[in-house]
Amino acid sequence: MSKKETFEAEALIHADSLHRTALRMTKNENDADDLVQETLMKAYRFWDKFEEGSNCRAWLFKIMTNIFINNYRAKSRAPQVVDLQDVDDDFLFGQLSALGPSENPEQHFFAKVFDDDVKMAIEELPEDFRLVVVLSFLEGFSYQEIANIAGLQIGTVKSRLHRGRKLLQKALWDYAVKNGFIKEAAK
């Protein structure tokens, strides 16, 4: 097989998955396209550096994350202050349980929220949290893989994922309340 054929079979098949993450990170279709193209062209140039048998998908995501961090992320990066002190770990679960068991509130909640609302809630997460949430929830990478891809300690991955989860649950709850899908339970 030629270099191009191997690349097509092993790397290019991940274009969808790269594009999905690129879209959540750049928040627009054009930048996502550019980011994926840049990633794959770079991967092709360095294809001889890729160790055969190792995880190609994780390697591609590492390249893409680096390009994203260097070229695409918000230019002025004020320190990201996220106050989660008032959100309990079981915030959403608690809210939904408080609605009473009769009508299966979780099912009701999950059925009401649209795809676009979930995508928007993900995009509204602060960048640092968004990256680990997307890599874990959408792409199914392990903590160790995410640590390698994003250049983080495994403990940082875990804490960001934990906080990202809470932020996402809080955002979706607020959204459901705002749209009247659910009447907020009295605390």
Binding site: A15, D16, Q37, M41, F110, F137, L161
Partner: protein, 262 residues
């Protein structure tokens, strides 16, 4: 296992990161504890829910094809010379050799190389700046003030002052460059679609070639047009100023007031 212990392992288990023993113990606890079970089920459901909702429909055939085309283009342009049949290569090499011989014969070798040696680094630096400018993803704002360290260099070390813009020309950036082992302030101006780089520094140690001499407003300067650019240099006191532009039709002397004696 207590409820507290079971919940501490919640996300590790959901994310399939917990070790086998932990998973087993958690399962045993969940079998007896409805509350924890409900929470575990909820978090697992939440994860699946997010994944299902955010998995967009693939659209990548188009994207893949575009990348394949780019790869083919890159391969083709790289392999172009070497993939020709051998006799073509020989012809090209012979022609190049003949051309070099002609150039060598036509010019005084020493004079030509001294001119090139002077032009090349300024031209390179200008072209690098031009390329950066043209490939910027966000447009560079014209009318930028000169960077403080560049201004300090020019004003402190050499008796010259700088204008951020003059009619028709606006500064887009500035930096300090080392050219022929001499430190220069590099000022970039845009004029319409074209760019001009001004290099301001000491002429000590720079080999100044004899270009065509022109007089602009009583100021003596030297101008040269090569294959890629036009270049002009002049002196203010003991300060050397070199102007380079890729646009050979730009009236280069217009840029002269941008740097003046103080």
């Amino acid at each position: 296992m207590t409820c507290e212990e079971a919940l501490r392992r919640l996300y590790d288990v959901i994310d399939k990161e917990a070790d086998e023993i932990d998973v087993k113990e958690v399962q045993e606890h969940l079998a007896h504890c409805e509350n924890c079970m409900a929470r575990y089920e909820f978090e697992a459901m939440f994860k699946t829910f997010i994944r299902d909702k955010a998995l967009s429909t693939p659209k990548s055939d188009q994207l893949k094809n575009r990348i394949l085309t780019r790869i083919e283009d890159a391969e083709r342009s790289r392999g172009r010379f070497f993939k020709r049949p051998f006799r073509y290569q020989a012809v090209i090499v012979a022609a190049a050799a003949a051309l070099v011989l002609c150039i060598v014969a036509a010019f005084s070798v020493a004079g030509y190389y001294r001119q090139r040696a002077f032009i090349q680094p300024f031209e390179d630096s200008h072209m690098a700046g031009l390329q950066t400018y043209q490939t910027q993803s966000t447009p560079v704002r014209a009318g930028n003030p000169c960077a403080p360290e560049v201004l300090t260099f020019i004003e402190g070390y050499l008796p010259a002052g700088v204008q951020d813009s003059i009619p028709g020309y606006a500064m887009i950036g500035s930096c300090l460059d080392v050219i022929q082992d001499v430190k220069f302030a590099h000022l970039s101006y845009v004029a319409g679609e074209s760019m001009v780089s001004l290099f301001v520094g000491s002429p000590d140690g720079v080999n100044l070639p004899d270009f065509e001499r022109v007089e602009v407003g009583g100021q003596e300067c030297y101008r040269y047009v090569c294959k890629n650019c036009q270049l002009m240099y002049w002196m203010i006191g003991n300060t050397l100023i070199v102007a380079v532009s890729e646009d050979k039709s730009l009236p280069l002397p217009e840029i002269m007031p941008a740097v003046s004696a103080i």
